[in-house]
């Protein structure tokens, strides 16, 4: 039983990371209809930036804050420079562009920091806390807390502020949003900035347990895709719930189904993606898209 509870908590921790990245993917997909395949590599780049700052003697939290800021502006710039010119082109073109970004950022990471895995000292120790006979790792609890704060802040931004209203309006109906005076182009860039920031949180939180190297987020990206698909590609709440559910599910399956174990963890995530897409493409929370045949 204690093992069961521990597995759930550590599942929530990895699920929190999936949720953050899935939320980033959903934000971009909702506003532009594009899946950003470079989201994982952007997160890795952010983690590298944070590592470099810490390597220069910064403490973790200031370095983290600076990384988030840099990532935000990086995301905005990326959208304005690379994505905007082909925004109205065919969808496959944009997908291929994000694939190109994936390869480019991965190459950039390897070029600057090399391919060797680096130890990343996170803010939380891996020491256990005992609660009634069950040992939780401080790191897991810390990651869950950070993920929750990030999700609540983003949620508040979208639902409680004027800016959030503009962001939502631009996503739902760009033409009418522009008619009522919302600067849609700026909102789209802002969306990419926010997604990059969320990704940065995910990358920095994942780095201590995964070790920092250019391919660090590649599997996390697949888990996040699974989370986003599970929750519904257009539903931010779905992304968060999907991420947490998936984290817990994968941990429990990995622990208790021996045939799957750790080796087929990724395959389980793929099965979730394929299963949901084929059976219920709108996911748990998404709206069913109707289209004229």
């Amino acid at each position: 039983m204690t093992n069961f509870i521990q597995q759930i908590v550590s599942g929530l921790a990895s699920g929190g990371i999936y949720a953050l990245l899935a939320l980033a993917i959903v934000l971009i997909h909702r506003s532009t209809g594009v899946i950003n395949f470079a989201q994982g590599e952007m997160a890795t780049l952010s983690a590298f930036v944070c590592w470099t700052l810490m390597d220069h003697g910064w403490a973790f939290w200031p370095a983290f804050g600076a990384t988030l800021l840099l990532s935000f502006f990086g995301g905005v710039t990326l959208q304005a420079v690379v994505i905007r010119p082909i925004q109205n082109g065919p969808l496959i073109g944009i997908v291929i562009l994000t694939i190109g970004l994936l390869i480019a950022i991965n190459g950039l990471d390897t070029w600057i920091w090399g391919g060797a895995a680096k130890q990343f000292h996170g803010p939380f120790s891996t020491a256990p806390i005992r609660v009634g006979g069950v040992a939780f790792s401080k790191q897991d609890l810390g990651v869950i807390a950070v993920a929750l704060v990030a999700v609540v802040l983003i949620g508040a931004l979208f639902t409680r502020t004027r800016l959030g209203l503009g962001l939502r309006a631009a996503a739902v109906n760009p033409v009418e949003a522009r008619l009522v005076g919302i600067r849609v182009a700026a909102m789209l860039a802002l969306g990419w900035g926010l997604a990059a920031t969320l990704g940065a949180v995910a990358g920095v939180m994942a780095a201590p347990s995964l070790f920092l190297e250019p391919n660090m987020m590649q599997t996390v990206l697949l888990y996040s895709f699974a989370a986003a698909v599970l929750g519904g590609m257009d539903s931010p709440i779905g992304a968060v719930v999907g991420g947490l559910l998936l984290g817990v599910l994968l941990n429990l399956v990995g622990t208790y189904v021996h045939w799957i174990g750790g080796e087929l963890r990724l395959a389980t995530a793929l099965a979730v993606i394929l299963g949901v897409l084929l059976v219920r493409p709108s996911g748990l929370f998404g709206r069913t898209a109707l289209r004229r045949a």
């Binding site: 496959i92 895709f225 087929l264 995530a269 793929l270 394929l274 493409p281 045949a293």
Partner: protein, 267 residues
């Protein structure tokens, strides 16, 4: 048409001359390029012409490569005969993959195929009694290698690999040319440009989309088989997600949507 024929003839002449000019090592490198060329041709049929994006074409290459490797290493089949078998196996798997793909529109197909490519190495490692696990399968020195030890028509082993790969590459290119110039190719492009209009004109949408998957996978299977024969070694990490992404980059840079007109990029 005449311009295309001239370009084709010049291409073939260059391919014939190259091994006489290049070092042995460059020759075998170019042979591997040939294997990628065939796989990219396949991807072009699927993504460029039928408009179905695949971020996981490396998986079909892996199917072809493992078919060849397992047949050569465990069943004593000579390498040449494994190539058509690899094409059939990959093609059938492609057809089977094409059916669920009908239900997935553009982005979601990209997502699903991306997932398959990411997961593939872990699956190859899991079923190790069949695939040799992480250590893979070594083909070097197996008696089923045709070119082993040199001596076929006075060619070195590397020249033999080059000749084999590019001969098949040329044949596959001609097949692709013929296919895409025929009713099949026209139907694919009609579906890509407007499914509604194509269906209204009597094009069987499901049939052609699934067929495109099968043909494309069969090409990739041939590419994979030749890759295995050239490198004489297959392992799960020979087929990472990067391979699939590079194939797509190759298709985009090379000849998206037309095996002839790179300027008419339409994706």
């Amino acid at each position: 048409m005449r311009v295309k024929l001239i370009a084709f003839v010049i291409g073939v002449l260059v391919l014939i001359v190259l091994p006489f000019v290049l070092t042995d090592f460059r020759t075998v490198q170019l042979a591997t390029v040939g294997a990628y060329f065939i796989a990219i041709l396949g991807l072009d049929v699927l993504t460029g012409h039928s408009g179905q994006i695949s971020l996981g074409h490396g998986a079909f290459m892996a199917v072809g490569a493992y078919t060849t490797a397992i047949l050569m290493a465990n069943h004593g089949v000579r390498d040449l005969w494994t190539i058509p078998i690899a094409a059939v196996v990959a093609g059938v798997i492609g057809l089977l993959a094409g059916v669920p793909a009908l239900r997935l529109s553009g982005l979601y197909l990209a997502l699903a195929t991306f997932g398959i490519a990411v997961v593939l190495p872990t699956i190859l490692k899991k079923f190790d009694h069949f695939t040799g696990g992480s250590t893979g399968i070594t083909l070097f020195g197996k008696p089923t290698q045709t070119g082993h030890g040199a001596g076929i028509w006075g060619m070195t082993n590397n020249q033999w690999l080059y000749a084999l790969t590019w001969t098949i590459g040329t044949v596959v290119f001609l097949i692709a040319w013929w296919l895409l110039d025929s009713r099949f190719g026209r139907s694919l492009r009609a579906i890509r440009d407007s499914e509604l209009a194509a269906t209204a004109s009597g094009v069987n949408r499901a049939k052609y989309k699934v067929l495109a998957f099968g043909v494309s996978a069969a090409f990739a299977g041939v590419g994979g088989a030749l890759f295995a024969i050239n490198v004489a070694y297959v392992a799960p990490d020979t087929f990472p997600i990067q391979l699939s992404l590079y194939l797509l980059v190759g298709a985009v840079v090379g000849f998206f949507g037309s095996i002839w007109e790179p300027c008419s990029v339409r994706c």
